[in-house]
Structure formats: C-alpha cells, structure tokens
C-alpha cells in the first residue's frame, strides 16, 4: 500500500451540526450514544471479539475518523482497518452502575475511532455488552443493526459457519454520496422549504419565565409518570376513528407532538412552537441496514390560538407533519434548518430482539448532557418490545430553576391527562398549578379610617411642624384650626357630604388645607393642576360639575361657584362648629391623562384611601415620622402619598411650588432639604439628580412609583443611601388607589427591572391570559386586581367602568380591575412588571419585551438610559429647506447635497469643470432632421418618427418644431387617466393645427402601475414613463417607425439617464454615452415591476427591437430658453398654459407622487431635474423655487389616492430605541453588544441618540413628545448586516453607499430591492470602471445584483486580464 495522503470526504449537513457542537464544547459528551445489552447467557469473550472484528470490517461507519485540514475544515477518513479489542471486565453487580457511568465519561477521540466498547461479566455469570458510538457516525437504528449483526456473526462463529454480511446493504460512504447528490437537486423546492424554516425561526422561548443560566450546563433524564391506565386510554384514542392514521406509531407520534406543543405553549406563553424531530432517511431498501448517521433533525412549527382545543391542535399538527414528511429528504438538514430547534420529540419505534437465543435487555443511557440549544427532548421508545413504551424528558438544567425542573414533567403529564380526559377542552384552560398559587380569601379586615388616623396624629403632634414652605411653617394645631375654619366656610356655602369640590391651586398651604377641609365635611376633592390646558379643565369641570371650585376668580369659569381664600382670610373668619358629617361618601376624583378622547375621572372612596394610607404607614414609616417633599403634580396620584403619609405619622410636608415657567425641576431643590427623610418620586425624576445627591441628602426611605424602575438606577441609589436606606418600588394604577403592590429593592436580585413585589394587605390579584385563564408560574399574563383598594369606577362613565371593572371569572359577585399591565409571577411570589399590553411590541413577528431591550441597551457602558418606543412608520419626513443653491435653486434638504460658504451646491461647482463636455454632448437643431431621417434610412414613407406628446410645454414645442422641420410625425399620447382637460385641449388643438396624426395609448393596468411606482420610486412618473416607452415602442415596431422622439427636458436627461460621472472622463466621447444609455435601456425594460407584469414586454426580450426603434431626445438638439419657448407656444401655436393642474405639468396625478416623495424621502422629486434645467439654462432659479413650493391640497391628495386605490400604511408600527449616552455611540458596536444577549431578530432597526428625554407634567417619560421630536438628523437605520470581506468588496460597497445614499448596505442585498434603477446603475458602473480601469457592462450589473456577486465578477475580470497580459 502506498503512503499517499488518504482519501478524505466532506461531512453531511447533520454531521456538520454535530461536529460544530462538539467543537464548541470539546469535552462535551452530549453526542455520545451509550448503549448496554444485558445478555443472559454465557458468552465466549474471544469469539465475541472475533465477531466484532467482522463488524468493524463490514461497517465503514465504525472505521471513520475525523481530521481537520490546515484550513481547519473538517474531513472524514475511512480507515482500511481498525484494530480494536473489546476488553473484558468482571464487575460485581453493586459496582455496575458506577462502572457504566464512569465508562460513559471516557472520551471518544474522533481522530482515532468513533466508538468505545467493553464486555462486562456480572456476578450472575451473564454478560453486558457496552457499546458507545459517537452520534456523528450513528443513529438509533445503527445500534439495532449492529446488535443483530453481532449476534449473527457470533453464532456463525460458534457454529463454524461463514460470515453472512448482507451484500445488498450499502455502506455509510455510499449513503453520503447519495445524500450529497440529493442535496444538490432542488427536488420540489426542498431546499427552499427547509431554508425558509431556518429564516423563520421563532425566538428562544423561556419556560416558566426562567432566564437561561449558563452555569447549569447539565442534562437530566426524567421518566414521565405515565402509568398503565393512561397508556391504555391513549391506545383507545389511537385506535379511535378521529385519531387513527396509517399506523398506530404515526398516530402516537402526532399525539405526543400535540401534547408537547400544548405544554410548551402554556408554560412559555408563546403562540408559535417549533419542534424538531428526527427524519429517518431509510426508505430505500439498500440503506435500511446501513450503519451510520442517516437521521436528520428537522423542524416543524405549530401555531396555537386561544380557541384551540386539543383536537383542533391535533389536526393542525397532523397537517403540519404531512408537510414535514413530504419535504423530508436526505440532505435537508443544514446549519440553517437547525436554527430555533429548542424542543425535540424523539419517537423511536424500534425494538431490539434477543441476542440469538439469549434473552437480552437493551438500554440507552443518557450521558447527562444535552445539546446546548435543546431545552427538552421528549423521548418515547420501547426497545425491549414489552409493548409498553416508556416516556422520558431529557431536560437541560440550564433552562430551568430547581422548581421548574420539578414542574416540567408534572405539568406535561397534567396536559397529557387533560387531553385524555376531554380532547375538546381548550388548551388554555388546563390548570397547571396556578389555582394553587392563589390563596384562599381572607376575611375582610377592619380598616382604620383616614379621619381617625389624622385626628390621632393631630392630637399627638400638636406643636410639631406640619407644613413648611419657603421658611414659613404651620404646626399641627394651627393646621387643624385652619382646616376647621375652611370646612365651616364650605358648609356655610352649602357644600354637603358626598358633594364635589374642585381645587385649582398651586402647591401651597392652601392646597393642603383645602384637601383636608373637603374630606372633613365628607366631600370629594378633585385636584386640577395649574398647568392643565384650559379646554381640558373645562371638560373636567363639566364632567364633575363641582359644588364649588377653589381658585383665583376668573372670567373663564363664570357660571361655576368660585371661591378663593388665603391663610390670612381664613384667620379672619370666626371659628365655626362643624355640623356632624358622615365621612362615608368622601374621597377624591382623579383624572387620568387619557391619550385620546375624554379624560376619565377615577373615583376613589374614602375606605380605599384609608386602606392605602394605613398600609403605607406600616410599610414606609414603621413608627417614624415621615417628612416628605410635596413637589409633584396635584393631579398625579403619586402625590397622595406625599400629602397624607407625613400627616398621619406626625412628620412635615415640605412644599415646593410649581415654577411659573419651564419644566418643573422642584425635585432638585427638594433633595437638598436636610429635613426630608422620605421621598416619593418617579424614576425619571431620579434620573434628573446628580451623582452624590442621595448621599448628601437626609433621605432614608425612597418610594418609586409611576414608571418601571430599572435595577441599575435602584442600585445606584441604594449604594448612595448605604445599608440604612430603603428603596421601595410601588406599583399601582390610579384605579387601585396609588399603590397596591410593593417591593423593597434587593440589590442581589439580578433582573433588568426591579420587581414590583407582593400585594399590600387586602389586595388580591390574578394573572390571566387573553381568554381569562390563569397562566402558569412565570408566564406573562395580564394583571387583574381586587380588594378594598379598587376605585368605585369612572366618574359619570358607566361604559368605561364596565369595560375595566369586570366580574371575576373565578368568584361570584366579585369585581376585578383589568390593569392592562403585563406581569409575571416569580418563584419568590413577587411580581415582575413587563410593560403595558397595548404597547406590546412585535418585531419581525416576535413578541419583544421592551424592558428587556432597554436594559440590554443601557448595559452598554457609555449609555445612561434607553427607552423603546413604538412609532408610526407613516411619519412625514419632509423638512422645509433652509435655503436654495444660489445658482441652480437646489434645495438644502436634497439628501447629501453639499454647499459651499456662498450656498452654491457642489453640482454647480463641479459643473464648471466638465461643462465643455456637456456642451459637446448636445447638438444643434440643424442636425436633428438628418439624425432622424438617417436612422430611418427611408424605410417608412408614411412617418419619419413617433413623437411622444404629453401636451406639456416641452413636448408641444418639440412637436411644432418637428413639423416645422418638415418631418412626417405620428404623435403619441399616453392617456393615463389624469391628463388635465386643459392639456387635452392643447393636444387636440395642436395636432389639428399642425395636421399631425395622433393616437392615444391606454392601459387598464395604469392604476396598478401607479401604485407600484409609488412603492418602488416614491413617485408616479417612473411608472408612467415606463408605460409610455413600452407602449410607444410597441406602436413604433408595429408601424415600422424607426425613431421615437422624446420631449424630455435637459433637466430630465440628468434625472433619468445622464450622470455627472459620464462627463468627467478626460477622453470624453459622446458615443460612449449613447452606448451606455442603450445598455441601460435594455436592462430598464427587462427589470421586473408592475409594467412587466401587466403589459406585454416580450418585445424587449431580444436586442433586435433596440436596433429597429431608436430614441432621439429633441432637447439634445434644441437649446431654447423658457421665455423663448413660451412666446413661441402661446403666440404662434395658441398653446395655453394649463390652469387646472396648478403648475406647468399637464398631469393631475403628479401631485400624489410629489406628496408621497416629499413625505417619505423628505424632499421634492423635482428638486434635482429642475436644478439641471437651471444649470443648463432652460429654466430660471426663481421659477423652480416657486414650483418646488407649490401647495398640495390634502383633500385632493386623498381623492387621488382613492382613485388609484393607493393607501398609505395605517398603523404601520416601527420600533425605535431612543437612548442617552455620555458620548457618541457607535451603532454597530451597540448592535454587536446587543447580539451577545439577544437573537438577531429581536434587535430593532432604528436607534436614536438623544441629548435628553422629555418628561410629562407627572414626571414620566413623554413618549408622545419623544416620537414627535424631530430626530431625523440623528437617525440612522441599522441592522445586522453582512460587511465587505475584501478590498474589492469594500470598493464596490463604498461606491454603492455613495451613489445610493444609503449608509448600511449589506453586501448580499439586491440592487433592485434597495431601490436601484438603471440610472443609479450607470453611475455605479462608470465610477467602478473608472477606478478599476475596467470595462464592465451595465447588463452584468443587473444580472449579478449584489455587491458580493459583482465583486467576485470584477475579481475574475481582473484576473483574466492579468492572465492575458502575462501570456
């Protein structure tokens, strides 16, 4: 034998997946398949060994080893022979288990051999054959095949017979070759089917809400507690008419997949579940007994809807599996198709027999490790043919808490049970231990009334300071006295218990006195903040119709009973004795800032308020006197705490009045007050404070409310406060009285946001899914609240009340409040807030938790704060230009336009350099006739040319001139349905007067073409032009007319076919340009769009048509100024400027194109061609500026949209990540950073760095203002993109970026998909040809499409050029 390097082979898709996994964790034994065969019989170890040698000879899989070549590509090599002796061990039965466990951990060196095997002799004299093969060369069937071969060979040897290897069985190598061939063939689009699956991979689900813990990388196999009676019930189902299929195994497999899907969906909250399952690939007879890795794990997806029952889900699974089996094929598995498989159902219908006549028990051992990405594998098999399948969960501990590890098998069996019990049951209704989570209701507790709490405090703290403002103070007895006086005054004004008093006062002594006085007479107070818009205030007052409004007298509120007072005026009143009042009806009404429509007044009863104050006293003050700043809006229920907590504990309220103008920054003052020991604020307030502010303050208790609290912020504050300080996170909608769920922050909790914790006493909650079923532990659901804190409802709004305060589905006569908040329950019984349900974000179809994203963004070192906002993608991007180029009128908003200090655009500047070349491109009118007749060569005696007549000034003038030149002309007009009546009149008049034959062309597809053009080019002209060219070329061809004359203006040349680059060449030759334009015309007509779809474009398939019909641009030959032209048209021909289109255009639909273009692209689509018209002297700067600023009527635009059936995307949401950072953030670094924590489909594509975040008057982030704020200059689209790999790609990429004005182009993006057109292609190709001194044709460009493909084409061009030079 020669010592040449051995023949090596590549790996199959499934082998590659396994190799990749093994490479990732070299010590992992996750891919070992250890089996034992307990053979009850006396074996001869030597003969057993001899038999095994025959197996090694007959099965190339066992002789396959793996090596990496110098490029670290892995190759497999089949060794001629492998010398292996099965070692014999005698092991006492007590040590057996340990021996096998240890043996399993023995590494298999794939460079040496892919298996490990020993023979064990037991106490009883029977034998155990241990065989462990690496998954990379074996599957479950391989073991059965080897086991049977071993038995056969062993007994043949015993009997002295010849080896009986099956000759018709193919080797593993033959299978792989077959697989490789199959892989190449796109049989029934298989590749696309599985590739697509990979692209659509759902995000990794979190079971029980548990975040992945990479430190727990261990697997465990749990036998599922499914007893005989359940298996019997299953068999009944399997054989029933609704379930049975081609065979029982198939039915069972479908059922297991159904139950597994249902389970995963329930405990993850996901509505799409992806399962992986092995596909056997052993249908061909010759591979049935091939030892090797033939199976491939392929995915299938099941979508679960709220109304799905087990049976309806079963039907879905059955249909999906049919597809799965239909498309399964050798070679289907790839790294792509393996994406997103986190759950595997492994149904193995294999039975191992006995070893000859020795009874044998076969066992597959679990190596205590799982594939990294697999969370659970459901195993169903029965190797020993006891017709009694066993079921196992192989669980990856990385994805489960200790509790979750216990729940998983239990809950799965509960789901299975529910299925057997009633398959019409809705899957969402199966209870998975949630009912147990909610404790029995405790008897209602007696609430200490607020009045008693206050009166006790007032009595005990008489001389202590109750209120303090700007150095003035009131003690408790003074306060009490003033409250009584005002209350008496209220009574004397006729205010009775239960009646409403509105308080429209700044933060002041008076405000607090008023609030207390209203409560004292049993009234309801309605705080109306000073900064409220007057219309909103009027709405509120109309709604509550107050008995009295306390405010500075004003005309605006005439008709209402107004009243004002000051401390001085109160002191002048004689003290009155209060009549007996019942406080039962008192309370307050707070108006929530409804984003749309009518604001809702939340009516809080006095018991709810009493309960909250009593609870907050015990939680936050614990016997201490709480001194708090009163610095937040009176209309915000967070402020309730700052008023009442000090008063009931004997502390003082430090009042900070609203600033008269600008943002309310009282928090900055409040924090400095050393008297303050307790503060309630929003996280946004806290972010306004400087580092160290907390440390220097006297604050010991911080209560957060109103917004989600990030752990980072809480940690910083906790750190500054030190161990004595307490940070509380209080959650509560206004409808449940200020706060009802509270958590004391614990820095050890490692979560992005601080938990909201446990309900306060008396408060109860439910977490329900969309169908109002309880969700399992850890699964996100909507929070519903009940208990004494619930509001009475919305004031004067029973409809809204009924919608949010609903009957409990679990308890009679109980009301629960629907919060609209998404939460999940943690195992420590604390709740985590996950955001608003109506702000649920879906990105690429994947549900995103905004807070998770925000915390990942904010974890980037420079970034201080991040907020995810869902914005309307239909936003107007138009910005009014700041100025116009002094020469050509190009507006400053034209993208990437640069201007010099004199406000002259770079186009004008560089134009000077090549103006000479441009003028040599243009010809004179004298040459026109000969050009046209020359091209025709006299082949048509009726017409010399076809003139494209739009009826506008340019084409009308051109037509007249052609006639003047004595050319025989057929005029053609496309009636696109929107030509103005004036323009039509012009056309009729003109053709009659000039005695020119004229035809109108039309197409029924015109509106579809307009719609396509708007989507593709953000204008209507492109689609219309292409229709004109297509129809006119066809007409010219039919009538054998050799030339089509266009009336394009010189500006339009530059818009549609000429580019700067064409002229900059030193050895400029106009014929080069003609050739390039011809090439561009070819690809233009062959590009797929609505025109190619709806019109007959077959005439453009051959180049012939381009020889038969030439294009001539009239204005290449005519250099006429606008005034000259207008004079000629109006005076000599009687052409009238259309007055029904509003501008010099003749087409009404044009306005819609301009509207869309301005809105989407941010500038006028005529800006560029007009600038050229000016530059080449065909238009005046002032005229273009006037036209660019024409007014577009929205009404007219709406009507046009209606007519062509174009609708702007409504409710098209876009996810934006706004962030604030200490320095400019490199977005690509940010994306990379995020990629470490999140799958790529969860990363938003819009990142906006802001200087600061706008706040609402309540001190929360003002998302509406954030979205409206014009950030377009800071805005940049990004996404995970493929970057250039080499110099040529980089060059091509940079050229694209420059020409396409797109910053982030993926090298695999298609030119057309990026909005490329032939003009852009010309620019790119000429630039590249110039830089690389090449001669790449534009046609190549369209065929190749992407940067990558074009680059490799260029590379081969260069290479072949070099070669030809060398030769």
């Amino acid at each position: 034998m020669t010592q040449d390097s051995p023949i090596t082979h590549s790996l199959t898709g499934s082998q590659s997946s396994i190799w990749a996994g093994q490479k990732l964790s070299p010590k992992s034994i996750a891919n070992y398949l250890p089996h034992t065969f307990e053979i009850e019989g006396k074996l001869d170890p030597d003969i057993f060994n001899q038999a095994f040698s025959i197996l090694l000879k007959n099965n190339d899989a066992l002789r396959t080893i793996f090596e990496e070549d110098d490029k670290s590509d892995v190759r497999q090599i089949i060794k001629e022979e492998i010398d292996y002796k099965i070692e014999l061990f005698e092991i006492p039965s007590n040590d057996l288990k340990e021996f096998i466990e240890k043996r399993i951990r023995k590494p298999i060196d794939l460079g040496l051999r892919p298996f490990d095997s020993v023979l064990i002799k037991t106490d009883s004299g029977s034998f155990i054959w241990y065989l462990n093969i690496h998954h990379i060369v074996a599957d479950a069937s391989s073991f059965k095949i080897l086991f049977e071969q071993q038995a056969k060979e062993y007994f043949n040897l015993i009997d002295g017979k010849e080896s009986s290897a099956e000759k018709d069985s193919a080797s593993f190598l033959e299978y792989r070759e077959f697989e490789a061939n199959k892989r190449g063939v796109k049989e029934s689009n298989n590749e696309d089917y599985w590739g697509r699956k990979g692209q659509l991979a759902p995000k990794k689900p979190k079971l029980y809400g548990y975040p992945e813990d990479p430190t727990r990388n261990k697997g465990r196999r749990v036998k599922l507690p499914i007893d005989e009676s359940l298996k019997d019930k299953l068999d009944v189902k399997v054989n029933s008419d609704s379930y049975r299929s081609l065979n029982p195994d198939l039915t069972k497999f479908t059922i297991w997949a159904t139950v597994f899907t249902a389970y995963i969906s329930r405990v993850s909250g996901e509505s799409v579940v992806r399962l992986g399952s092995p596909f056997p690939n052993r249908n061909l007879k010759k591979y049935r007994n091939t030892v090797g890795l033939l199976i491939e794990v392929l995915p299938f997806d099941i979508k679960i809807e709220a109304e799905d029952s087990f049976f309806s889900l079963f039907q879905k699974v059955r249909t999906e599996l049919f597809d799965f089996f239909k498309h399964g094929n050798p070679g289907a598995q790839s790294l792509q198709s393996s994406r997103g498989i986190h759950f595997v159902v492994n149904y193995i219908p294999l039975h191992f027999g006995d070893f000859g006549f020795y009874p044998t028990r076969t066992k597959w051992h679990f190596p205590d490790e799982l594939d990294e990405s697999h969370q659970i594998r459901l195993q169903a098999y029965d190797f020993n043919s006891s017709s009694n399948q066993d079921f196992y969960f192989d669980i990856n501990e990385k994805y489960f808490s200790d509790q979750g590890l216990k729940w998983a098998p239990q809950h799965f069996v509960e789901v299975f049970n529910a299925f057997l019990l009633d398959d019409n049951q809705l899957i969402s209704e199966v209870d998975l231990g949630s009912k147990k989570l909610f404790k029995e209701k405790s008897a209602p507790r007696k609430i200490l009334s607020l009045a008693s709490q206050l009166s006790q405090s007032f009595k005990e703290n008489k001389d202590l300071i109750a209120l303090s403002k700007d150095g003035h103070t009131l003690n408790y007895s003074e306060l009490n006295d003033l409250v009584n006086r005002l209350a008496g005054e209220f009574q004397s004004k006729g205010v009775k218990a239960g009646e409403v008093v509105a308080i429209h006062k700044p933060r002041s002594f008076e405000y607090i006195i008023a609030v207390l006085a209203v409560l004292r007479i049993g009234g309801k107070f309605v705080p109306i903040p000073m900064d409220i818009p007057s219309l909103r205030m009027q709405g509120i007052l109309k709604d509550v119709n107050p008995k009295l409004i306390i405010t500075k007298q004003t005309q605006e509120l005439s008709g209402l009973n107004q009243f004002d007072f000051s401390i001085d005026s109160l002191q002048k009143l004689s003290p009155t004795n209060l009549e007996n009042v019942s406080p039962n009806e008192s309370g307050y009404i707070l108006f929530t800032s409804g984003s749309t429509g009518r604001p809702k007044g939340v009516e809080i009863g006095i018991d709810s308020l009493s309960n909250y104050i009593e609870q907050s006293r015990s939680m936050y003050s614990k016997g201490h006197k709480a001194s708090m700043p009163f610095f937040t809006s009176i209309g915000f229920d967070l402020t309730i705490t700052s008023i009442f907590l000090p008063l009931v504990t004997g502390g003082s309220i430090h009042i900070y009045e609203e600033s008269k103008s600008g943002p309310d920054l009282s928090v900055l003052e409040a924090i400095k007050n050393p008297e303050i020991n307790t503060i309630k604020l929003t996280p946004s307030h806290a972010r306004l404070l400087k580092q160290g502010a907390w440390k220097e303050s006297g604050i010991e208790v911080v209560i957060f409310g109103g917004e989600n609290l990030e752990s980072g912020l809480a940690s910083e504050i906790q750190f500054e406060l030190g161990s004595k300080g307490k940070v509380f996170n209080e959650y509560g909608p206004t409808e449940a009285t200020v706060g009802c769920i509270v958590h004391e922050f614990n820095p050890k909790e490692d979560l992005p946001s601080v938990l909201i914790g446990k309900p306060i006493e008396g408060c109860e909650y439910l977490i329900l899914d969309g169908a109002k079923n309880l969700v399992p532990m850890g699964v996100p659901g909507e929070l519903y609240l009940s208990g004494p804190g619930l509001a009475k409802g919305y004031w004067n709004n029973p409809k809204a009340t009924l919608k949010s305060f609903i009957d409990s589905p679990f308890e009679e006569n109980a009301t629960i409040y629907k919060t609209g908040d998404l939460v999940r329950l943690h195992e420590n019984e604390c709740l985590e807030y996950l955001g608003r349900i109506d702000e649920q974000i879906k990105l690429n179809g994947v549900r995103i938790e905004a807070q998770e994203l925000e915390s990942v963004i904010a974890s980037m070192p420079q970034i201080e704060e991040a907020h995810i906002v869902v914005a309307d993608a239909n936003q107007d991007h138009y910005e009014t230009p700041e100025f116009y180029c002094r020469n050509c009128g190009l507006p400053s908003n034209y993208p990437d336009a640069t201007f010099n200090d004199e406000q002259v655009c770079s186009l004008c500047e560089s134009f000077d350099d090549y103006q000479r070349n441009v003028s040599s491109y243009f010809k004179s009118i004298e040459n026109l006739k000969s050009e046209i007749t020359g091209l025709g060569d006299g082949r048509n005696t009726q017409y010399d040319c076809l003139m494209l007549l739009s009826g506008g000034k340019d084409s009308s003038y051109a037509l007249a001139k052609l006639v003047e030149l004595d050319l025989k002309v057929l005029a053609f007009t496309l009636d696109n349905g929107f030509i103005s009546d004036n323009a039509k009149a012009n056309i009729d008049h003109l053709t009659k007067q000039l005695r020119v034959d004229h035809v109108y062309g039309t197409t029924e597809a015109m509106n579809a073409i307009f719609r396509d053009s708007i989507e593709r080019h953000q204008n209507v002209c492109n689609g219309c032009f292409k229709t004109v060219y297509t129809l006119s070329t066809k007409l010219a061809l039919d009538k054998n007319i050799p030339v089509i004359v266009t009336g394009l203006s010189r500006g339009q040349f530059f818009e549609t076919r000429l580019t700067e680059e064409l002229f900059v060449k030193e050895d400029f030759d106009p014929t080069d340009i003609d050739n390039i334009i011809l090439e561009a015309r070819k690809s233009y007509h062959r590009t797929k769009d609505a025109v190619s779809e709806y019109l007959d474009v077959s005439l453009f398939e051959n180049d012939e048509v381009f020889d038969k019909v030439s294009f001539v641009d009239f204005y290449r030959f005519s250099d006429v100024s606008l005034s000259e032209m207008m004079d000629y048209l109006e005076n000599k021909i009687g052409w009238k400027r259309p007055e029904d289109t509003g501008r010099s255009t003749n087409c009404i639909i044009n306005d819609l194109g301009i509207y869309v273009h301005k809105k989407r692209k941010g500038y006028h689509n005529y800006a560029f061609p007009y600038s050229w018209d000016v530059r080449v002297g065909h238009k005046k700067r002032e005229e273009t500026i006037d036209e660019l600023n024409d007014y577009l009527s929205q009404e007219e635009i709406d009507q046009l949209m209606e007519e062509i059936g174009f609708h702007e995307p409504k409710n098209k949401k876009e996810i934006r990540a706004y962030f604030k950072a200490s320095s400019k953030v490199d977005l690509n670094a940010l994306i990379k950073h995020m990629g470490q924590y999140l799958p790529s489909n969860m990363i938003p594509s819009n990142f906006i760095q802001v200087e600061s975040f706008p706040l609402t008057s309540n001190g929360k982030i003002d998302k509406t203002a954030l979205v409206k704020h014009d950030f377009s200059s800071e805005r940049k689209k990004v996404g995970p993109i493929e970057k250039p790999k080499n110099k040529i790609e980089q060059l091509v990429h940079d050229t694209w970026v420059m020409v396409m004005k797109e910053d982030n182009i993926d090298v695999t993006d298609s030119f057309i998909a990026l909005g490329g057109n032939s003009l852009l292609a010309i620019r790119i190709v000429s630039l590249l040809n110039k830089r690389l001194k090449l001669d790449v044709g534009i046609q190549n460009f369209f065929e190749l499409g992407s940067i990558r493909k074009i680059s490799s084409f260029i590379e081969s061009e260069i290479r072949s050029r070099l070669q030809s030079r060398n030769n």
Partner: protein, 75 residues
Amino acid sequence: MIEEITKYISEEIDTDINAEEELLSSGLIDSITIMKVIAFLEETYDVKVPPQDMVIENFNTVQSMGDYLKGQLQS
C-alpha cells in the same frame, strides 16, 4: 394508474413490488415513505387526500390506493 404507482413506489424504496403486495402492514414501507407516496399521488392525480382518509385501508396496497383514488376522482 396502478402501473404508474407501482413503478413510483418500487423506485422510491428500490425494491420491486406488485399491486397486491401489502406495503404498510408488512413493514415494506414505513409510515414516512407512505407520506411521500401520498404526496406523489396528490400531485400526479390532482387530488387532495384529507388527513382523515390517511388510514391503512386506503394505502396498504397499490390496488387499494388505486381504488381509493378512483373513488376520489369520481366523486
């Protein structure tokens, strides 16, 4: 039709079969291969086999497949 199906299955499993031969109950073809066969029948004869018809009686032999298909095509 029978001939065509027999030919297809024989090629698919690389084994000669006849129209009467039991395919599923004998283990000659597995339930996955039969899915491919059904997909072939759907495409070739332009029928749709609803999941509830995917039972052994209809597909155990080429003959039974033929009978089933005739029934489907006539209805």
